[in-house]
Amino acid sequence: MSSPKLAWPGRPEDGRRVLRYVDALSESVALEMERDRSVFLFGLDVDDHKAIQGSTRGLLEKFGPDRVFTTPLSEDAMTGVAIGAAMAGMRPIHVHIRMDFLMLCMNQLVNIAAKARYMYGGQVKVPLVVRTIIGKSWGQGAQHSQGLHSMFMHVPGLKVCAPSNAHDAKGALAAAIRDDNPVVFVEHRLLYATEAFVAEGAYLVPPGRSRVCRWGRDVTVVGISNMVVEALRAAELLKEVGVSAEVIDPIWLAPLDSETIVESVRRTRKLLIVDNGWNMCGAGAEIAARVAEACAGEGPVSIRRIGFAPTPCPPSPILENAFYPNPATIAAEAFALARPDAAPWAPDPSSAKLAYQMQFKGPF
């Protein structure tokens, strides 16, 4: 259920076309490249037949190799190249198939992209989009699985976006491309196949508005990226035990609309943040801190964070399952928050398993 106060372009009312997240990404880029000659797309493997798991499909054919091209394995310099091109008035989209590889370009992103406009006294701007994918499927292991968005949230001058559904992916990517600032655009591999209602034309999902995806009374659950979907599944499980969970998707992590979250927590007095990353100094820490600051002196608020286990990601299946939050663990945590005096509860394994068959067509 969508938040009543927000009228989103491309909501179900506007048309019934259903599109996959992966196709929404390429469609959005195509529309922006048509609209604006200064937009180009580059990065390792964007032009091969796998097309970044399909998310750059068709772009080479449509726009040719001058505007869609691969690079050497040189993430650091290629990021600098993107920044320089952006300073010269182009609008580069630089694609990385795994977010882990961004560690190779931190210097350019943190020391140049984020600071250029400020430290050069407003003389330049850096309209750069860095597309990255959080890798999750089976056996990705320690270096192909990280969600490192909080590092970018930490740095003034960078924007960060992590859409959870095809509708937002399309609109937020367009907004990122049109933004005059560097945007780290965080995708999630498991979202690629998910479908949502997506309008055909261009539209924007700009920074500054969290979305209430599902209204609830008893506990506020903030999900980040793919964890929005897991939280919605958890909310269904919680229904069985009479707990009504509100699910919020920040969509943009920086700038972060925490007001929507705070408003929700003012009602529920319970907050669970579910992240696709580690908790320590993570997005969840920031949200928890903001809520704690905002609600101080208003009466008790209970807060919990769940995210990656505080370990590297192991590929062995039992360990890997335990590494990630899932609908059952989210539901159990949310229940504990919502019903602090009740005996601990967890969904029974069969309904937890069934939860994975729940598909939600966004924009929620």
């Binding site: 091969d48 691969t70 394995l73 040189s74 990705q140 292991g141 320690a142 270096q143 062995s316 360990l319």
Partner: protein, 327 residues
């Protein structure tokens, strides 16, 4: 670790070149990977695999010249390096299966093979990152005067990462005992080298650091072995690094068990040309049929045992999630 012990009987690194030993090493790697490809479509293997089928001659040529005290550093396409240097086969197989007895206890996966008992350094899934690590391992050998060398394998793509020239410079400056080995298969995933590199003068470039550099156009196992064996004595005495670029061909697809000739970005006819230089076949020809049969039978038995070991081993229990984050 049981897995490590299981491999002790196998010693591919005895001194001197020997046709049987080289064939056995090559054939063993080939067969292991073929078995991996066979098993892969079942869900027994728990992480994506990068086969080196066709490229085995390089790892075997280099490693056969090394001593046990020497180390190798490989890539995510690391089965050949790992096995050629004497890494435990049951340990590797169990790792692919995600088992507690795996060389990384199921916490690494196929891209993070390691066997420190055999001086096989851990491989990495981030291209190029192991190169400076190998150089640091070599620096420690120099500091401790062990006389050991480190053979550092990388793909052609890895040479485009800035850490590669940084590493070359540092290794040359400090005369570190590193054998840099570039396995140039002409592709990074599906991108041909011509779309990534301005020229093909890698050897000339490396030579400007004062590092002797040599290209092997068809990566003949024995030629590589002879070259490395010849360079080692000087290296052990502080002569500094060397570099070899070995032209080769990845027969299969980048990741997974199949091939990728239908995708249209490279041609099957080139494969056929490379298959005529198949290192396993070449090594086989040097042996009598009976000798080969004996080796082959031993290899099949060893592989079958390793698969059985992997299959029968338990998964790590859930508590293992939290161990070894810190030492």
């Amino acid at each position: 670790m049981a897995a490590s012990k299981a491999s002790k009987s196998k010693r591919p690194n005895r001194p001197g070149a020997d046709a049987g030993r080289i064939y056995a090493s090559l054939r063993r790697i080939r067969r292991v990977e073929e078995e991996i490809a066979r098993i892969y479509p079942t869900d027994k293997i728990k992480s994506p695999v990068h086969l080196s089928i066709g490229q085995e001659g390089i790892a075997v040529g280099v490693c056969d010249a090394l001593e046990p005290r020497d180390a190798v550093s490989g890539t995510y396409r690391g089965h050949a390096t790992y096995l050629a240097k004497g890494g435990s086969l049951p340990g590797m197989m169990a790792e692919l299966f995600g088992k507690d007895t795996g060389c990384a206890r199921g916490k690494g996966g196929s891209m993070h093979l390691i066997d420190m008992k055999a001086n096989v350094l851990g491989t990495s899934a981030v291209v190029g990152t192991t190169v400076p690590v190998a150089v640091g391992f070599a620096m420690a050998q120099k500091m401790r005067k062990t006389g050991a060398v480190v053979a550092c394998f990388m793909g052609d793509g890895a040479t485009e990462e800035g850490c590669f020239p940084e590493s070359l410079n540092f290794a040359a400056l400090h005369k570190l005992p590193v054998i840099f080995v570039c396995e140039n298969n002409g592709f990074a995933i599906h991108e041909p080298i011509a779309k990534r590199q301005a020229t093909d003068k890698l050897c000339q470039r490396v030579a400007t650091y004062g590092i002797p550099a040599k290209r092997f156009v068809d990566s003949d196992t024995r030629a590589i072995r002879t070259h490395i064996a010849g360079a080692l004595p000087k290296m052990r005495k502080g002569g500094g690094p060397i570099f070899i670029e070995c032209m080769t061909w990845r027969w299969r697809e980048h990741v997974g068990p199949g091939d990728d000739y239908d995708a249209g970005f490279r041609s099957r006819s080139t494969l056929v040309r490379w298959q005529k230089k198949d290192p396993v076949e070449i090594a086989a020809k040097a042996l009598a049929k009976a000798a080969r049969a004996e080796i082959d039978a031993a290899i099949e038995a060893e592989i079958a045992a390793a698969i059985k070991f992997a299959e029968e081993s338990p998964f790590p229990p859930v508590e293992e999630l939290f161990t070894d984050v810190f030492a």
